[in-house]
Structures are given as C-alpha cells and as structure tokens.
Symmetry: C2
Subunit: 137 residues, 2 copies
DNA sequence: TCATTTACGCAACAAAGTTGCATAAATATT
DNA sequence: AATATTTATGCAACTTTGTTGCGTAAATGA
C-alpha cells in the first residue's frame, strides 16, 4: 500500500517526514529501530520529529512495537538459584503488568515448541505477556 | 539460597556490592531494572559498578535478561498495511538474528493460547525468538 | 602477611529519550 | 484562491541511560 493511502486511512496528515518514514519501512521488510531510521533519514527528518512520528504511527496502528533484547532490560534470578529448583529452564514466559509495570517470571509455564519458517535457527525464546496482574486487577 | 552460596557456586568473588544486589532480588521476587536497583542501592553501590555486576551475573548464569517493552524497541509495519492482508493480527512472533541483529516479523505464525496462572489477565503477547537467520546461516 | 588478581568508584563521554516553544506546513473555511 | 485554523516540524536545552579508562581498594592464594 502506498504511503499516502496509509496516512489517509489512519487519519493522519500527509507530510514529507511521515511519507519518508513509511518509504523506509516499505523498502526493507524488517523491523527498524529509531536510530536506523535516523541514519537513513539524516538531514531530512529531525530526530525529535522522528520520535513523534513513530509515536503517532503506533498510536494509530500503522506500526507496532517489538521489544528488543539488547538494551533496557530487566533482570530476574535464574530458576536454579531458588530453594526449589523448577527444572532449570529459562524458556519460561514473563508477565508485565501495564498498571504497576512490574515484571514476573511465570515459572510454571514452558514456551511450547513451534514450527519456524525455513532457514531460521532458534536458540533463544522470549515470551513477554502484557496485561493486568493480581494486585492491580 | 543465600547470596554467598550463589556467588561461590557461580565462581564469583563475594563482594559487598554483589551481595547487596542479590539481597535486593531475593526480597522482591520480581524482575528488576537497572534503575530500580540503582535507587534501592543508592549511595551503596556505584552506578557503573552495578552495570558490571549485572553483566557478570548474566554471563555466569545468576540472572537472566528479560526484554522490556517500553524503551529501546523496534518498529514494524502492521500486517494490514501490506498489500495482502494476513488476517490482521499482531499476535505474531518476531525473530531477531544474533549475527546481523535484524528483526523480522514471522507472519505465518500465531502465538498459541496458553494457560496463565490465576489472577493474571493477558492483553498483549510478545514472542521474540533469537537465533540465526537465513542470510547469516 | 604479602603478592596477585579482580572488583570498585570516579570522571568523562556518548547515546537515547523528553519537553517547551516559535515557525512552518497541511487542512478547513469562506 | 486567499485566509484562518489546526497540527506537525525543527531547534535548543535538558535528563536519563549506557560506555570506557584508569587509579585505588578489596578479595583470594601463596
């Protein structure tokens, strides 16, 4: 779909910056981080404007966020450091409450095996669930 | 398990800082971000030291990282903006290559429904797979 | 107790993210 | 088509987060 169409469909003004951001996405077919876009559009779109464009796009449903595992993470004790060893696996899910923004390990849950597209070799799995926790319910 | 024991088991020197970090974890039973620990241990453990303690702990398997969905994210076009609409669902998995660190949407995969512990209400799911992609294989 | 290794704290820096505000550009109105 | 209104942009200044180097202090081993 053309950038202009996407903008109209999502009730967004068509501006140069937004169109260029959408063009970047359509020519890559992979997820892009803020700084990647920033470099790609250096001199064309302001850094702050880019933050605001991405925020808008997410709010309106044009883009979706994907948590990244490199920076801004939380840490939890590995299971085998607890008194009772829950099978020593870190393939468990994590639950993050959108209210209190606390994150818990869901120890008694193992990420199911699944079919992955041809050619990809999976060595790590992060399943992050969002919602409302007991306390905040 | 006591902090000192954990350190010995993982081949780490027992220092005041490390012990205090482990104590923080054991008194919370939830995942902690760097800045939470920083506040909790303000004046006791240096900010940089804390980064290094966490790195060490992760390397030695004392702690594990959990990607956080608030900051340092990547963005991808929502499925319904593509020419062919793949069922309009964002409950799909993402694959991040540890070599080239590119992230792809795995469109033809839906996160399976699963039993979540009592009291938690799940509204969002992020499944992030790590490994090696086609290009880098 | 002394030598060696490793961790710590501090300073300085780089990168990432936020806020406020004046200006420019996009839509709406006549 | 010109003007008014709304919204987005760019810039400056700032805060937060993460990194690197290095001298000192603390922990282990002899």
């Amino acid at each position: 779909m053309k950038p202009e169409q996407i903008l109209i469909q999502h009730d967004l003004r068509k501006t140069q910056g937004r169109i260029m951001v959408l063009q970047e996405f359509s020519k890559h077919d992979k997820a892009l981080a803020h700084n990647e876009l920033q470099h790609a559009l250096a001199g064309k779109v302001d850094r702050v404007t880019l933050y605001r464009i991405l925020d808008q796009f997410e709010k309106k449903g044009v883009l979706h966020k994907i948590p990244d595992d490199e920076v801004s993470v939380k840490y939890a004790l590995c299971a085998h450091n607890h008194e009772i060893d829950h099978q020593h696996s870190d393939d468990h899910a994590h639950f993050k409450c959108n209210d209190c923004s606390e994150t818990f390990c869901i120890d008694d849950f193992t990420i199911p095996n699944m079919k992955i597209p041809e050619g990809f070799k999976v060595t790590e799995k992060f399943l992050l669930l969002g919602g409302v926790c007991k306390k905040c319910a």
